[in-house]
């Protein structure tokens, strides 16, 4: 895998003529969508799509190169995660150390609902 990436990176100059926007609207939409899912590591509170930083610019070019090279969204994300870590993803992956993050809101909702049901039942019993 590493050699493949190294090879790809060597090919970057050859692909450097990637346009700032794709003429094919489907490809352009894919690129924009992907860019919105990536965090700018420099400004941190903006996505790669919104940020003006040189880093975001580089990542935008990278995304467009890889789309032009026929990579799937998943492959491009995996490539960027391998390079920069999970931090670059706006949407944290669901894995062993993040399931609590994803489930917590719904656990609170469920627990709250259960408590509410008990409270309502008791209040109704008093009313009767």
């Amino acid at each position: 895998m590493k050699t493949v990436i190294a090879f790809l990176l060597m090919m970057v100059p050859a692909l450097a003529a990637v346009p700032e926007t794709f003429s094919d609207p489907a490809l352009e939409a894919r690129a924009r969508n992907l860019q919105r899912q990536l965090r700018c590591l420099v400004c941190q509170s903006e996505s790669v799509d919104d940020s003006h930083s040189p880093f975001a610019n580089d990542v935008r070019n990278l995304v467009r190169e890889q789309i032009a090279a026929g990579k799937s969204d998943r492959q491009i994300e995996d490539f960027l995660v391998a390079r920069y870590g999970d931090f670059i993803l706006m949407k944290p992956p669901l894995q062993s150390d993040t399931w609590l993050l994803w489930l917590a809101p719904f656990l609170v909702l469920g627990a709250g609902g259960a408590v509410a049901a008990v409270v309502i039942k008791k209040a109704a019993a008093r009313e009767a």
Partner: protein
């Protein structure tokens, strides 16, 4: 000299806050009326001395007294007066002083309004005094705004250009009036627990409600202002990024909203007494956590100008004692106060309970999303980031469910409601929701499920509010508060959905005389002129909206350079029709007089903040009705309270 005066005033304020704490808590015991008088006057004195310190700092900023380190680091002689003043709170030390000023203001308000009887007020003042003492210690020991510099520098370092903005001059004071306002309901809740005689304790909700309302209104306005500022300043129209600092203001808002509703039930029907107490504690805890997040440098963002671990530690200890103490008090005293209320499953109480379940769950979502990456990182785990897609999948569905339920609340009676009648009354709102969905599906492109659902829900909310207003016509103004606030929610929802779904943008390089198009607009670029502002140099772009070949309104976005700070900033130009914004940001200079331009069309964007304003107006109606009517004496608790006060 003025600096030392401020320093002395702060020390006096600290002493007075300790007197306030002791006398207030003593006054909570039955006969000690002297202690109560001492508490009242020390609350006033606290306000005077904190205001004096704040005035001294403001004076140092206005006169550019660079012998004060804070002024030297954050001000500049060439800065316009308004930004010299807003520079007072555009930094860590000054903003903490503003924090304490607002805290003292609320203490004085509690002392002046004396709601809920003398003993409850006294206990609340005591707790407020404790909090004030803790924050004054924090300021004096870790964040002293009056530190001197020797030798005095000739010129100041200036203020971040991003912060030199009218929206941001107002945003922090507004937000603090909200954040810190929750300290008053916290103090009242703690007071209710301290004075655990039931007759007195249960007055706390009525006593605290105007203060909760005040805090909520200010938070709503503060968040809206912050979001509006981000929208026009960042250059790409981002109005909410789920940034940790934005989240830090959203969490107290969500809890305050829950508290507002639950305290209403507590006041009107005696339901959820202990729960409201817990929410009041949680609300201020969220404010403290927000302060910790913003002020400690735990997170990196544009707001975290302070990067000092001792400050973070101090606030953490403060949170531990304030929250831990209040929760311990709650665990000890609350069971004695618990009186089960009686209501039917179909009643307004139930809707308010569900409102609380959903609001607390959505707050939990923001809480986990903000703190989970920090905790995971601290535990040596992976570095992850939680961005908008997370909230789209967690917060948004929970909040949508809440908005579906909102219209039922005002339609159901206390104790026992009639669900079928409520449905019947709400049919027109259902119709409006259907029409809104159809219009979006049939007329607007691109079509999207999210936008369709959002407009249906907005129609449902606004329709229900109109029905509620019609039903109550002729009633006093405060009867319309809920309808207005709920309609505001619908208006904001339309704004958010509209801008998100139907925005269009153009990134182009144009030469003078050329035209560009974005969305339905055609713009002619008339070149760039060099302008000189009070403390910046700007490239000002001149754009004209072309309406069928004829020139219309002009837009003048600027690219500014602030020599004092050595920083660049974009000043965007926005042309609004009230329902649609044309948004221009001038980019960098390309050769031959050509400029990169970023143009956006944001349909319905103004509705986002209009909705916030309408929500706040709803809060104001409720507050006005509450302050106008003197506290009713004929409550069941009142005779007992009067006796206790004898």
């Amino acid at each position: 000299m003025i600096g030392e005066l401020g320093q002395v005033a702060l020390c006096f304020a600290l002493a007075l806050s300790l007197v306030l704490a002791v006398s207030g808590l003593m006054g909570a015991g039955a006969p000690a009326s002297v202690a109560r008088r001492v508490a009242t006057s020390s609350a006033m004195g606290l306000l005077v001395f904190v205001a004096l310190a704040f005035g001294a700092l403001t004076y140092a900023f206005v006169t550019s007294d660079f012998s004060v380190a804070l002024v030297a680091n954050h001000s500049h002689t060439l800065k316009p007066l308004v930004y010299k003043i807003s520079g007072v709170w555009g930094n860590h030390e000054g903003s903490m002083l503003l924090w304490v000023l607002v805290l003292a203001l609320y203490a004085a308000m509690v002392a002046g309004l004396k709601r809920g009887g003398e003993r409850l007020t006294s206990a609340a003042l005591g707790v407020q005094g404790l909090v004030a003492a803790a924050f004054l210690l924090f300021i004096l020991f870790t964040s002293n705004p009056f530190m001197r510099l020797d030798p005095t520098p000739f010129e100041g370092a200036g203020l971040m250009p991003l912060l030199q903005d009218p929206g941001l001059a107002l945003h922090p004071p507004m937000l603090y009036i909200g954040y810190v306002g929750l300290s008053a309901s916290f103090s009242y809740a703690a007071a209710g627990l301290l004075v655990s005689e039931e007759a007195i304790a249960n007055n706390w909700a009525r006593a605290a409600r105007p203060l909760i309302l005040m805090a909520w209104i200010a938070l709503t306005c503060g968040i809206a202002l912050g979001s509006w500022w981000a929208y026009y300043v960042l250059g790409w129209g981002g109005f909410w990024a789920w940034d940790p600092v934005e989240n830090a203001s959203l969490m107290p808002w969500l809890i305050a909203t829950a508290l507002l509703h639950s305290a209403l039930a507590t006041e009107k029907s005696g339901a959820f007494r202990t729960w409201s107490l817990l929410l009041a504690i949680a609300g201020f805890s969220m404010s403290l956590i927000g302060t910790l997040l913003v002020r400690s440098g735990l997170i990196t963002s544009v707001h975290a100008f302070a990067n000092d671990p001792t400050r973070g530690l101090f606030i953490m200890v403060l949170i531990f004692f304030a929250v831990g103490g209040a929760l311990a008090l709650f665990a000890w005293r609350a069971p004695a106060l618990r009186v089960g209320a009686a209501f039917e499953p179909v009643s307004r109480e139930t809707t308010l309970l569900l409102n609380n379940v959903f609001l607390v769950a959505s707050c939990a979502c923001v809480f986990v999303g903000t703190l989970y990456p920090l905790v995971l990182d601290a535990l040596g785990g992976a570095k992850i980031s939680v961005g908008p897609p997370y909230y789209a999948l967690t917060f948004v569905p929970i909040f949508f469910a809440l908005m579906l339920l909102v219209p039922f609340g005002p339609q159901l009676l206390w104790k026992r409601g009639d669900l079928r009648a409520a449905w019947r009354a709400l049919y027109p709102a259902l119709g409006l929701a259907g029409i809104a969905a159809m219009v979006v599906l049939a007329l607007v492109s691109p079509r999207g499920i999210a936008a369709t659902c959002a407009f249906a829900v907005a129609g449902w909310l606004i329709g229900a509010s109109l029905i509620d207003i019609r039903r109550r016509r002729g009633a006093r103004a405060s009867a319309f508060a809920a309808a207005l606030a709920h309609a505001g929610l619908g208006i904001t929802l339309m704004g958010v959905a509209g801008t998100t779904a139907w925005r269009s943008e153009a990134l182009t390089v144009v030469a003078p005389g050329q035209t560009m198009t974005v969305g339905p607009y055609t713009l002619r670029f008339d070149g760039v002129t060099r302008e000189k502002g009070p403390n910046y140099i700007a490239d000002r772009g001149h754009f004209v909206i072309m309406d069928e070949g004829k020139p219309g309104a002009t837009l003048e976005p600027e690219h500014r350079f602030y020599p004092a700070e050595g920083q660049d900033m974009n000043d965007t130009a926005i042309h609004t029709t009230g329902l649609r914004d044309l948004y221009l940001a001038l980019g960098d200079d390309r050769d031959g007089g050509r400029f990169a331009v970023r143009a956006h069309v944001f349909p319905l964007a103004p509705l986002i903040w209009l909705g916030g304003l309408v929500m706040a107006l709803g809060g104001m109606l409720s507050l006005w009705g509450r302050l106008r009517v003197r506290e009713p004496e004929a409550t069941p608790a009142a005779p007992a309270m009067a006796q206790a006060a004898e």
